[in-house]
Symmetry: C2
Subunit: 538 residues, 2 copies
C-alpha cells in the first residue's frame, strides 16, 4: 500500500516560518572590509527576495541552475544560500583554498551559470575566468566592483537595488538539489555531492535536538560556508530562530574570541585548529570570559582530549565533538552525553567526549572488516565505518567513481573505527593513514593524540613510512610550543607508558608546523611525500 | 533535476537507535490488574521482536495488514505499536469509547485481521465479534484469557512465548501506512486517517525540539494510545531515549498525580479535563509536590487560562498548550514562548500561553473567509484555519468525503481562528460551534472561558440555540463546584464586564455535568439536541 503523495520537504517552509516568527532576530556579520554589519531576519528577507528575483530577471538563471559562490561567511553569502534554495536553484559553494586547476574543474563540471565573489577574494579567481566555460555573469559581493580584480563585474548591491521582491516560493520536487559541495579527494579530480532539499531539510531538523537550539541561542559558524554548508548551521540556526554571527575573513583566535564575547555567542562550530587558536588567545588573556557559551562544536578532524579538558576546566565551556563527511551533509554523529554519564568522574567522561560521538537518530552505522563482514561493537574490534540514512548522499554528482564509495545502499566512509559498547564511534584512523606494520595495524591517530597530550607539544602528526623489514613503521612529526623546554626524548618517554611498545614511532622529527589541507586538516600526504625515504635504509 | 532515491524515512531506524543507545531505559506501566509493571527498552525489544514474528507465523498476517488494538496505555500496547510498524503492518487503534456500531463500521472498513484486547475491556467487544467481518484471531493482552469475556481468545503471553525474535526490520516504502486512526465525526461514519511511516517519522523528529526531549525525561502520555497515537509521545519518547510511564486504566487525578510523583515524570500530556482533575487533587492535598515537572502538555480542547495560571502559581509547572487534529498526526502547533516574552508580565505571558500556539516548523497555515480569501494575521480578523505540510494527511482512507476537507493541497481544519501579529493561533471556535447571531459571529469558546474563570464554576459550555428573531442566540450551561455558593446571577455579573453586551447568553442553565464525547471533549451536539427549542418562544 502506498498512500497519496503529500507535501514536499522544502527548506523554504523552514525559512518562511523563521522570518514570520522571528522578524527582529539579528544576523551579525564581519564584512570583507572588516566592519561589523548588523541586520535582522526581517530586513534580510527583503534582500533575499530581491536577490531571488534578480537571479532570474537580471542574471537569466532558472530553477535547477547552479550559482557559484566564492566567499567568506558573511550576510551576503547567507542571502545567497536562501535565495538559491528557496527558488529551486543550486548554491555551489567554491572552496577558496582549492588549487586553481581544481576550481576550474569543478566550475565546469557543475556548469555554474553565475559566480558571486567577495571583493577581497576577487584576485584569486580573476585569472581563471577565461577558463570557466559556463559562467555568464560575475557579481562582486559589495557596493562596487571598482578596486577589485574584476572591475567590470556586477556589484551585488546594484544587482538587487530596486528589484521587485520575490513572492511565494515555488513548490518543487523535494529531491531537487539545492547545494553542490565538492570534496577535494586525495587523488584525481574533486567529487561533487548534490545536497537535495530533502537531505538538507532532514539534516536540519534531525540535528536541532543535539543542542536544543532555540531563539535564545547565538550561533557562530567558524567552519566556512564553502565547507559542507558550514555543517548546516545556517539552516539549523534559522529554523530555530537563533541569532547568527558570521565571522567574515578574520578567523584568528583573537578575532573569533572577540565575537564570542561581544555578541554573546552561545554555540560556535569549527575545526580543532580554530579552537586551539582560541585556547592560545585565552591563555594569553586570562581575564577573557567565554563561560556564557553552551558549547563549542568541533569536527573536521579528531579533537585532542587535552583540548576538551582545557576548555572544560579553564573556560567553563563544553567542547562537543561531531563527525561527518561532505557525503553525510555533513553531521552524522555527535558526542553528546547520556543521563548516567553526568555522574561519572571527569576522566571517564572525557573517554566519551573524545570519541566521534554517536549517530544522529535516523542514521545507521556498522564497521566491517576487509571482506565486508560486520564486526562487533565491543570497543576493541576496528574496521571501516559504513553509514546509511535518509540524508546520506546516494551517489556523487555525475561521476563514475560513485560505485567505489556507495555500495549496496551504504556509504563507505574511509574511516577506520571502533564502536564502544555504549554506542560511540571511536575513529582509529583514516583507512589510508592506518599504518600497516608487520601484518598488524597501528592507529596513527592514537599515537599522535598521545603525543599531543604532552603539555609542551603544540601539534603532532604520525605517518607510516615505508620500511624494508616491517612494510611500514610510524614516524612522528612534532611541533613544540614557543618557549617549550621539552625534547623529543621527553616526548618519547611521555608516551612510552601509554602505547604498545611496537606502536612507538621509529623516529621523532621536530618541524615548525604540520602541513595543512585547504580545510585545515593535517596533510599527511605532504609529510609522506617529503620523508618517503626516511626509513628505507633502516 | 531529480537525484537518485536514497534511504526511506522509517520508524524502525529510530527504534533501533533507541534500543541500542538506551537499553536500560525504563518503561513503567500500570496493567489492567492495576499492578505496576517495570521493564526496560532492552527487555521490551526482545518481546517486540517475538511479537513481530508471531504476527506472521502464528497469526498469519503480512506487511500491509491492519492489526486492531482495543486497549489502555500499557506496555503491551507499546509493544504492539512497534511490532506492527517495524514490520510494515498497520496498528489500528480502536477508541474504546466509540459506540458499538461505530466500532463495527471501522473494523470492517479497515479490514482488520487480528484484534488485541485488554482483559478488562473484553466485555465491550465480545458482543461485536460476530459482526467483525475480517478479524481472524482475537488476542487477550494478558497471561490468560480465562475469566475474560472472550475466554477462547489467544493469551498474549502464550502468543509470544518461545517465539524466535524477529531479525533485521524490512526496508519498506516510506509512504506505507503504519497506523489507522479514525475520527468520530459529528455526522456520518467515522473517517479513517492512515499515518504513513514518513508522516509519523517527520512528526516525531519535528516535535522533539518543542521541549528538548532527552533521555533525562520521563514522559507520561495520559492521552490515550487509541487517540491519534497518544499525540505521538510513544514515538518521540523512544526517539529521545526517554523513560516512558503508561498509566493504564486509572486516569483519576489521584492516580495520575501518584505516578507523576512516584516515577519522577517530567512531561505529561493530556486533555484539559485530566489536568483539572489533577488540580482538584492537588488543591485537596496541598503537600503534594509536582514542581519537578518541566511541562504539562495540554491539548484536545481549549485550555482554560485560569488553569494555566493555577498550575504556574500553585504547582510550579508550566502548562503548554498544543493544537492539532487526527489529520495532522496530530500535533501542529505548540504555545512555546519566544525569547523576549520571558521578561513580560505574567498576565501578558498568559495571553500567549492560552493560545493554541504557533506552527511547528515545516507546517504552513492561513486563515480564510467564507470565499476562501486569506485574512490578515492581525489578531482581529478570524476565519477558518487551513494547514498544509509534510506530515499532514492528504486524504481520508478509502473515503469519498476527502474532497470536503482536503482542498488544493490544504486541510480545512474546521476551526475558526485569529492569528496574532506574534504568530500564534487563537482559536475562536469550531466552525460548527460559532454562534451566528443577527449576521454577526459570537465565539462560544470565548464566552465559556470567561464563565469558567469564575472561581465557583467547575465547567461551562456555551452553545447557539435557534432564536426566532436573531437566528441563533448563546445559552450557557454551568456546572458549579461542590459546595459552591455562587448563583447564575453572580456568574452573569462576573462576565458582564468582560464580554460585549450582545455576546451575553440569553439563558444560564445549571446542570450536573457537561456531556462529553468519547475523547473527553464537551459534546455540544448533545446540549443542542436536548435544548433545541429553549429559545423558540422568546
Amino acid at each position: 500500500m502506498h498512500m497519496q503523495d503529500d507535501f514536499p520537504l522544502l527548506l523554504s517552509t523552514l525559512y518562511d516560518h523563521a522570518v514570520w516568527q522571528y522578524p527582529s532576530q539579528e544576523i551579525v556579520s564581519i564584512g570583507h572590509d572588516r566592519n561589523l554589519h548588523r541586520t535582522t531576519y526581517g530586513a534580510t528577507d527583503d534582500r533575499v527576495r530581491q536577490l531571488a528575483t534578480a537571479l532570474g530577471t537580471r542574471l537569466g538563471t532558472d530553477a535547477g541552475d547552479p550559482i557559484a559562490t566564492f566567499a567568506w561567511n558573511n550576510h551576503r553569502h547567507h542571502e545567497l544560500y536562501w535565495a538559491t534554495s528557496n527558488t529551486g536553484r543550486i548554491c555551489h559553494t567554491l572552496n577558496i583554498r582549492l588549487f586553481p586547476d581544481q576550481l576550474v574543474y569543478i566550475v565546469n563540471h557543475a556548469k555554474d551559470k553565475v559566480l558571486f565573489v567577495d571583493p577581497d577574494l576577487s584576485a584569486l579567481v580573476a585569472p581563471l575566468l577565461d577558463q570557466f566555460e559556463t559562467v555568464e555573469h560575475v557579481v562582486v559581493m559589495g557596493d562596487t566592483a571598482e578596486g577589485t580584480a574584476i572591475p567590470d563585474a556586477i556589484p551585488y548591491e546594484e544587482l538587487i537595488d530596486g528589484v521587485e521582491p520575490h513572492g511565494a516560493w515555488p513548490l518543487i520536487d523535494e529531491r531537487s538539489p539545492m547545494m553542490f559541495c565538492y570534496t577535494s579527494g586525495t587523488t584525481g579530480h574533486p567529487k561533487g555531492v548534490a545536497y537535495t532539499q530533502r537531505s538538507t531539510y532532514l539534516h536540519t531538523i534531525s540535528n536541532l535536538a543535539n543542542y536544543n537550539l532555540t531563539d535564545r541561542d547565538n550561533v557562530l559558524p567558524v567552519v566556512p560556508m564553502f565547507h559542507a554548508a558550514a555543517w548546516g548551521y545556517p539552516f539549523q540556526a534559522v529554523t530555530a530562530g537563533a541569532k547568527l554571527t558570521y565571522p567574515g575573513p578574520d578567523l584568528s583566535g583573537e578575532g573569533i574570541t572577540n565575537l564570542l564575547v561581544n555578541e554573546g555567542v552561545t554555540l560556535a562550530a569549527g575545526v580543532p585548529t580554530v579552537w586551539l587558536g582560541i585556547q592560545h588567545h585565552l591563555e594569553a588573556n586570562p581575564d577573557t570570559d567565554i563561560s556564557h557559551m553552551r558549547a563549542l562544536f568541533c569536527g573536521g578532524s579528531a579533537v585532542p582530549r587535552a583540548m576538551i579538558d582545557w576548555f572544560e576546566k579553564n573556560a567553563g565551556v563544553r567542547v562537543v565533538q561531531g563527525w561527518g563527511m561532505t557525503e553525510t551533509n555533513p553531521v552524522a554523529s555527535v558526542a553528546t552525553s547520556k543521563l548516567d554519564m553526568e555522574d561519572w568522574p571527569w576522566e571517564r567522561q572525557l573517554d566519551v567526549y573524545e570519541t566521534a560521538g554517536r549517530p544522529v537518530p535516523g542514521l545507521q552505522i556498522k564497521i566491517v572488516d576487509d571482506e565486508g563482514n560486520p564486526l562487533p561493537h565491543d570497543g576493541e574490534a576496528f574496521g571501516e565505518l559504513l553509514i546509511r540514512g535518509p540524508w546520506i548522499a546516494a551517489e556523487y554528482y555525475k561521476d563514475d567513481r560513485s560505485p567505489e564509495s556507495f555500495v549496496e545502499g551504504w556509504l563507505r566512509t574511509g574511516d577506520v573505527c571502533k564502536i564502544t559498547p555504549d554506542g560511540y564511534i571511536r575513529i582509529t584512523d583514516r583507512a589510508k593513514d592506518v599504518i600497516k606494520s608487520g601484518g598488524e595495524w597501528i592507529s596513527s591517530l592514537d599515537v599522535e593524540n598521545e603525543i599531543m597530550a604532552h603539555p609542551d607539544v603544540a601539534e603532532a602528526s604520525v605517518v607510516g613510512l615505508a620500511h624494508p623489514k616491517w612494510q611500514e613503521r610510524p614516524v612522528a612529526f612534532v611541533v613544540f610550543k614557543p618557549n617549550a623546554h621539552a625534547s623529543v626524548d621527553d616526548v618519547r618517554d611521555f608516551i612510552a607508558m601509554r602505547i604498545a611498545a611496537w606502536w612507538m614511532p621509529d623516529r621523532f622529527v621536530t618541524i615548525d608546523a604540520i602541513p595543512k589541507t585547504g580545510t585545515g586538516k593535517f596533510d599527511k600526504k605532504v609529510l609522506r611525500a617529503e620523508y618517503e625515504a626516511l626509513l628505507l635504509s633502516d
